[in-house]
């Protein structure tokens, strides 16, 4: 059984936005990181440098999780090179927004392959390594769209809803093995992707939030940090949305 003195944390989608914030936030704890990116190697290395500056060991890995083979093999590569995996933070995701009636089957398929089946392959491939850990954790990134739904994001919302179901299913099966499985459902968070939207698109989110503001990636990272040691919390999706439409 692996001790957690220097746990290894695999984070996907780590080159920017919420994934990068999570890596930098957790780095203060001195963990060992495997940061996965799909295409922006330079951005991933920039994040890695910031994490290393806090005393953590970091390796970067390129993988496209919409590719079944790459999604299955990533945990094997990481465990082989870093000696195991204690925590999976599955953050990678993509969106193809637009009126659902106008989306192509290719657009719908790409979202489901990356966000849903890619995450399932990744998590399933991690399980044997998490079972070797003293306290294995799976933390999945869902979305408010997975709970509340979002017009213009039907495939994305479906994929993130599926993540909630995956959290319950894996939590039930892995709980007896000492592995905690939980998810975070961020609301409207300040990232490169959301900052490209015009004010008309952003304002409804602000109006529906009790805090009347956009969330920060660091605030999602705070929830993820809690879920590293979640105690009695399991199979649960925590909303991090400023009190959206309660």
């Amino acid at each position: 059984m692996r001790k957690l003195a220097k746990p290894t944390i695999l984070i996907t989608g780590a080159s920017r936005g919420i994934g990068a914030a999570i890596a930098q936030h957790l780095a203060t704890d001195g963990h060992q990181f495997a940061l996965c990116y799909r295409s922006d190697k330079q951005a991933a290395e920039d994040v890695a440098a910031k994490v290393e500056a806090k005393g953590a060991r970091v390796e970067t890995y390129q993988a496209d999780l919409s590719d079944p083979q790459q999604a299955l093999e990533l945990p094997v590569r990481v465990a082989h090179e870093l000696g195991g995996i204690d925590v999976l933070i599955a953050n990678a995701g993509m969106a193809k927004d637009g009126p659902f009636l106008t989306l192509t089957s290719e657009q719908i398929t790409s979202v489901i392959q990356t966000n849903l089946s890619g995450t399932l392959r990744l998590a399933g491939s991690c399980v044997p390594f998490l079972e070797q850990s003293e306290a294995g954790r799976i933390i999945l990134l869902s979305s408010l769209g997975g709970i509340f739904g979002t017009d213009g994001q039907v495939p994305y919302s479906a994929s993130k809803g599926g993540i909630i179901g995956m959290t319950q299913w894996l939590g039930e099966l892995l709980g007896p093995k000492g592995i905690r499985v939980n998810a975070v459902a961020p609301g409207f968070i300040e990232t490169d992707m959301t900052m490209q939207l015009n004010q008309d698109r952003i304002q409804p989110f602000l109006d529906f939030s009790a805090l009347r503001r956009i969330g920060k990636p660091e605030e999602v990272a705070d929830v993820v940090s809690f879920l590293l040691n979640p105690g009695y919390v399991n199979s649960t999706t925590i909303r991090c949305d400023g009190g959206f439409a309660r």
Partner: protein, 218 residues
């Protein structure tokens, strides 16, 4: 109601619904959850066969914990196909009803918490994906007079063997008064009443149907 399209693998709920609506002289058409259903939706001639109600039957996928990479891949592929099949058919169903003047779409999901009591062929990944898709799509297509909702069924007791049913009931005997047997026909009748209401005041909702054991917990 002019006509109903049932999509999904045959089961007792859909069969009871078909009988009930056929008795009301409603035309009922059935297709499985496959390419044939998608083709039918995409090429449907509403002038010849008017349709204003479409129902997606529940999906079930085996959920044992996969042990090998091959098993993980097979499970992921099964979910991918199930969710994609649903989304593409939902899109085609929306297009069909939008161009024919509106109607109702219902996606049946299974509330899976009762699997803690006895083995149920539930599929939480697929169910939650459907619910989120329905909530999102309903907002887009309501202005075209199409109402999209989920009917979230806790479990169909008619599918539970009597010996398992008794064990389950005894395990939660404090709730025994709630766990009285409900026939599939009662679910079917409830859905049938909703289908018969032309001015249905429901869209983008997940409607729980069951016995109060649990309710859509997240």
């Amino acid at each position: 109601m002019n006509g109903l399209l049932l999509l999904g693998e045959p089961n007792e709920l859909l069969a009871d619904l078909r009988t009930r609506l056929t008795d009301q002289s409603v035309s009922v058409y059935e297709y499985g959850r496959n390419q044939e259903a998608l083709d039918a939706l995409s090429s449907w001639e509403t002038d010849k066969n008017p349709i204003d109600r479409i129902i997606f039957g529940p999906a079930t996928i085996a959920h044992d914990l996969p042990r090998s990479l091959g098993e993980v891949d097979d499970l992921a592929q099964a979910h991918e196909e199930a969710v994609l099949s649903f989304l593409l058919q939902l899109q085609a169903a929306g297009r069909l009803l939008a161009r024919s003047g509106g109607g109702q779409i219902w996606a049946i999901t299974q509330e899976q918490s009762a699997r803690y009591l006895f083995p149920l062929p539930t599929s939480p990944i697929d169910s939650y994906a459907r619910r989120a898709a329905v909530k999102s799509f309903a907002r887009e297509i309501k202005r075209m007079d199409v109402n999209v909702n989920c009917l979230d069924i806790q479990f169909q007791m008619d599918q539970t063997p009597d010996d398992q049913w008794r064990v389950m009931r005894n395990r939660v005997n404090i709730y025994a008064s709630r766990l009285r047997h409900q026939a599939i026909a009662s679910f079917s009748k409830f859905l049938c009443d909703l289908l018969n209401q032309d001015d249905l005041p429901m869209s983008g909702l997940v409607v729980p149907v069951g016995i109060g054991l649990t309710e859509q917990n997240i």
